[in-house]
């Protein structure tokens, strides 16, 4: 029983981290109508910046948690103004191609700056070691911290979207950009802001992930594939969809690793294929038919 409990906690931990990444992808898609293929690369950039700040400059985890996502958000503003603004009016294929080009550029830049090796980041003093839960089962403190961060973000994002003016503006811009413009909303500013916010979320996920996963040049590719699976399972463009998809994939990872280790790697894809067969629009999605 305690083994199952630990596996479920693991699922929650993986799922909440995936939610943070996938919800950023979702928000950007909702407002910009762009699937950002470079979203995983921004996540990776967050992790590498955390590595630089903590291991090379000796700063604390808290500093990394604040500085790295902000730096990536600033980069996102530059990318938006310099590159993406050219294709907002164009066919959707162009935005896919352009963010794919960004993925190539960021991936290779990371390889050039930090090398192809694997780096590790230690969790801060306070969050090291394990605690006993479910009787005598030990569980890493850092994973509990990730769960807390994830839950706080779920609550905060829900509050922002449903209870604040900024959230209303974002939803209005997602629903009908022309109408929002007619109501004196500066949609250009909203678009740039949302893209930066999505990048901030991705990089925050990267910083949180750094102490428990290997920091290597392949981490961005891995997470973007996972986020796509989350989005397909949950449904594109919805907040509950991102949460549901992330939890399902978290469970697949957490329980699959425990009970079906041989085909663990394939389970997410099998899950995705099943959802596509029986609920093509995702568990919570609407209107994605060709």
């Amino acid at each position: 029983m305690s083994g199952l409990g630990a596996a479920l906690l693991n699922s929650l931990d993986i799922g909440l981290l995936l939610f943070v990444i996938a919800v950023g992808l979702n928000i950007v898609f909702g407002v910009l109508n762009v699937i950002n293929f470079a979203h995983g690369a921004l996540y990776m950039l967050g992790a590498y910046l955390a590595f630089t700040l903590m291991n090379l400059l000796g700063l604390s985890f808290i500093v990394a948690l604040i500085v790295a996502p902000l730096a990536v958000a600033v980069l996102a503003v530059i990318i938006d103004r310099l590159v993406l603004r050219f294709i907002y009016e164009r066919d959707i294929a162009d935005s896919l191609l352009l963010t794919f080009a960004l993925l190539l550029i960021i991936n290779e830049s990371v390889r050039m700056i930090w090398g192809s090796g694997i780096h590790t980041v230690q969790p801060p003093e306070l969050l090291r070691g394990s605690v006993g839960i479910f009787g005598d089962t030990l569980y890493p403190v850092y994973s509990l911290f990730v769960i807390v961060v994830g839950l706080v973000l779920v609550a905060a994002l829900w509050f922002i979207f449903n209870r604040t003016r900024a959230g209303k503006i974002m939803r209005a811009a997602a629903l009908d950009r022309d109408m929002a413009e007619a109501l004196c909303i500066n949609t250009k500013l909203v678009v740039t802001g949302v893209f930066a916010f999505g990048a901030w979320l991705a990089a925050l996920g990267g910083v949180v992930a750094a102490p428990m996963r290997a920091v290597d040049p392949g981490m961005g590719d891995k997470i973007i594939i996972e986020s796509f699976i989350v989005v397909v399972i949950g449904g594109l463009g919805s907040f509950p969809g991102a949460l549901a998809g992330a939890m399902v994939l978290g469970l697949i990872h957490g329980l699959g690793g425990r009970y079906l280790p041989e085909i663990n790697l394939l389970l997410p894809f099998i899950g995705m294929a099943l959802v596509l067969l029986f609920k093509p629009n995702g568990l919570m999605g609407k209107g994605a038919n060709a």
């Binding site: 191609l97 352009l98 390889r111 394939l266 060709a290």
Partner: protein
């Protein structure tokens, strides 16, 4: 008049390609072979992207399964090359049918994500299933035997292999071209331009998209099959998404609006790769920048921009 000039230029190019091994340095025979194979790969991708309007980021899966099929048949059964290539084609089509069945049901945003994800699934399988694919070491150590049909060729000679590839690529490209020009091909182009309207005409869009994707997978598999004797190895890297990026880049570089665009793109791509990788390691960075600039400012591609200008001129 202009179509006569174009036809003349095409015939001249083919003659030059046939004569290539006798006029260029030895090294460029390999470059030529790679350009032809990758050109067919890119053209197969462009049937889906340029003609049907679906952006696939997972084409390396069909290319790679073709390479594995030929490599494994040569290693274990020593089949004649032509038979191996036919199996590669079939495997590419089969895999495209399965992935396409799941992916063409949704809109193009989903399609791009799904093809990338399923492509990476195939990559992971090739990487992990050691007993069959030999993991990250790949399939190597096979030898080339006969060509098939009783034709006697020394396939180990790079110049001979170049001519074999040239002949196959020309035949395959003609078939692909006829498909694009047929009424089926016209329906695909209509789907790209206005899917809703085609569907109101009573045509099943999903079926047409799936057919285009499967045909594309077959030709990608054929191109991949020809890559096995050329590289003398089939490795998981050939199924990675960075390999899927290559036909995308080639088509954009040459131009997606013309049938020969991807071939021109392949030539530019392979030549640039050869020159740039001899100077710097940052080939991917360069690619990304070129792709971004092409999409932003030269969306019609190099051949496309030129032909648009030339055909418009009085």
């Amino acid at each position: 008049m202009k179509s006569a000039i174009l036809l003349g230029a095409l015939v001249l190019t083919v003659i030059l390609l046939i004569a290539l091994p006798w006029v260029v340095p030895y090294f460029y025979i390999f470059i030529g072979t790679e350009i032809l194979i990758m050109g067919l790969f890119a053209a197969s991708f462009n049937l889906v992207f340029g003609y049907t309007g679906m952006l696939s980021f997972g084409h390396a899966a069909f290319f790679g399964i073709g390479t594995y099929a030929t490599a494994m048949l040569l290693l274990h059964l020593q089949w004649p090359l032509l038979a191996c290539l036919l199996v590669s084609m079939g495997m590419g089509a089969l895999l495209a049918l399965v992935i396409g069945f799941l992916s063409v049901r949704l809109n193009e945003v989903y399609f791009a994500m799904l093809t990338l994800a399923f492509g990476m699934m195939v990559f992971s399988i090739a990487h992990m299933w050691r007993s069959v694919t030999n993991g990250s070491d790949g399939i190597a150590g096979f030898t080339l035997g006969a060509f098939g049909l009783g034709i006697d060729l020394t396939l180990g000679n790079p110049a001979v292999y170049y001519h074999v590839v040239l002949a196959i690529v020309i035949v395959a490209s003609l078939v692909l071209y006829l498909i694009c020009r047929s009424s089926f091909g016209l329906i695909l182009q209509a789907i790209r331009q206005n899917a809703e309207r085609v569907s109101f005409c009573g045509l099943n869009i999903r079926l047409y998209r799936l057919a285009a994707f499967t045909i594309s997978g077959a030709f990608a598999g054929l191109a991949g099959g020809m890559m096995a004797p050329f590289l003398r190895v089939a490795s998981p890297e050939m199924m990675h998404w960075s390999t899927s990026a290559e036909p995308v880049l080639m088509s954009i570089l040459g131009g997606t609006g013309y049938f020969l665009g991807p071939y021109v793109g392949s030539a530019l791509f392979v030549l640039l790769e050869t020159w740039i990788t001899s100077v710097t390691q940052a080939w991917m960075l360069f690619l990304g920048i070129v792709l971004a600039l092409m999409v932003m400012f030269f969306r019609r591609g190099i051949l496309g921009t030129f032909l648009d200008w030339w055909l418009d001129k009085k």
